[in-house]
């Protein structure tokens, strides 16, 4: 064990985890809206829209995240018409390629989580609203969505943690996130154990925080 290396690389890795946190939060934020949108398509009784939403979630849940990143980063970069389109301004940047891949991936999982949450809402809640003469729109926003969010909290907490760990793949498209910087330090010091242990501990620390925040929210909104 090289303790000097541990002490020296800790601040660098901590600084790099800002990139990791940025990636997670931006992707989760975009992914939540994508997920909500497709979950609503699924619960509306429209066969075509439902099928579209289903194929989206099926595709992105059925392929590895790494492959998705590679297709978006290296794959699209090889296509002439994409390079000449306005999309290239975004796809040229590794950061946005990673965010797009992460957001689409987490969006697919989130849509499934929210869909099942909507579907488990007891009909009695909605009927109670209807019998009081509450408009349908208000039932959706004031009854269905809050209950669905509460129902999906445990599963969504898991998704946040999976996403946090998933961002380590960003280093494969040259981003200097926590894993990227860890690999960089190893490439100059040739000491993987020390560096990966610190990187792992930082991930564990973030997971610990996320886990407890979700637990707190679950308690607060329990019924």
């Amino acid at each position: 064990m090289d303790f000097d290396l541990i002490i020296n690389s800790f601040p660098k890795l901590l600084f790099a985890s800002i990139t990791t946190l940025k990636l997670v939060s931006v992707s989760l934020f975009i992914g939540l809206f994508i997920g909500l949108f497709f979950a609503i398509l699924r619960i509306k009784n429209n066969i075509i829209l439902g099928k579209i939403a289903y194929s989206y979630s099926y595709t992105f849940r059925g392929t590895p995240l790494l492959v998705q990143i590679f297709i978006i980063y290296y794959g699209f970069g090889q296509l002439e018409f994409i390079r000449e389109s306005f999309l290239w301004a975004i796809l040229k940047e590794p950061y946005w390629c990673a965010v797009i891949a992460f957001a689409l991936n987490t969006g697919a999982y989130t849509s499934e989580i929210l869909r099942s949450a909507f579907q488990t809402i007891k009909p009695g809640f909605i009927e109670a609203g209807k019998s009081l003469g509450v408009p349908n729109k208000l039932i959706f926003y004031k009854i269905q969505i809050p209950i669905a969010i509460r129902q999906s909290l445990p599963a969504y907490g898991n998704e946040i943690i999976l996403m946090l760990k998933g961002t380590s793949l960003a280093s494969t498209v040259t981003l200097m996130d926590l894993t990227g910087v860890a690999k960089y330090i190893i490439s100059t010091t040739f000491k993987p154990i020390e560096v990966f242990i610190i990187a792992g501990s930082i991930y564990l620390f973030f997971t610990f925080i996320i886990h407890n925040v979700i637990k707190f929210l679950e308690k607060k909104y329990s019924f």
């Binding site: 290296y74 970069g77 090889q78 040229k92 494969t172 040259t174 690999k183 190893i186 490439s187 993987p192």
Partner: protein, 287 residues
Amino acid sequence: MNIFKKFGLGLLISLFITISANADKIRIGTEGAYPPWNSKDASGKLIGFEVELAWALCRYIGQQCVIVEQDWDGMIPALQMRKFDAIMAGMSITDERKKVITFSQGYADEVASLAVMKGSDLEGMETPEGINLSLGGSGVNKALKTITGALAGKTVCTQTGTIHQNFLESGDVGKVNVRTYKTQDDVNLDLTSGRCDVALAAAVAFTDYAEKSGKPVVLVGPTFSGGAFGNGVGVGLRQASQTGEDSALGKRDAALLKAFNKAIDQARKDGVISRLAVKHFGFDASM
């Protein structure tokens, strides 16, 4: 029950045979992703200059060899963890690496070069044909200054943990916006896609790619050698002191260093290295 006992015994014996058969083989680690130094053919078989040279050196040493594939970024740690005994992966002999491993004498010269896509404004940079950073002098300084100016504001791509990355970060060419990749293939892909303005690697890595892919990748600026670029490519080996010079493992490592040095001498004398270099690089890169 008896049949199970026999089966179990047979399994044990075959396990023992495979272990003992492997015990005295020299295991050589290579990347298999840095053509024409080392790469893989369509069927996944390792090919390239160093793969053929490794077989030749093993014949001179008179021991059986196994060639193992290993990602570049884990090459040195894998050697130290005894996943294999020697590195032959286009690894240049540098002082930085010598702190953790040892090298045989060099077997080939690797010159580095910048590369761009045809039509880049970096084409036609006015520099000498080649510069040796170890020699220094006003010619070298002038060339470095030209390159510093040319690279300013550009995204320069290179493979992680290479001499090329070290050079770009050494400050010799100012503060450069460096982007690092896991493999040279990835660097080539992003050079052609336009995410990289310019890339740095072994000159032959670019010419080989341009030839095989048909993409208009061209070399610009001088070829680099010396200084951060090290002193040729050699066989990377464990330092005998890692496990203690008197230990059995340490003695084996020390013997391997001697054996490789002797084998390289013989291969050079017989013209094997030159022949293989001409076959794979198109010119004699032996040293």
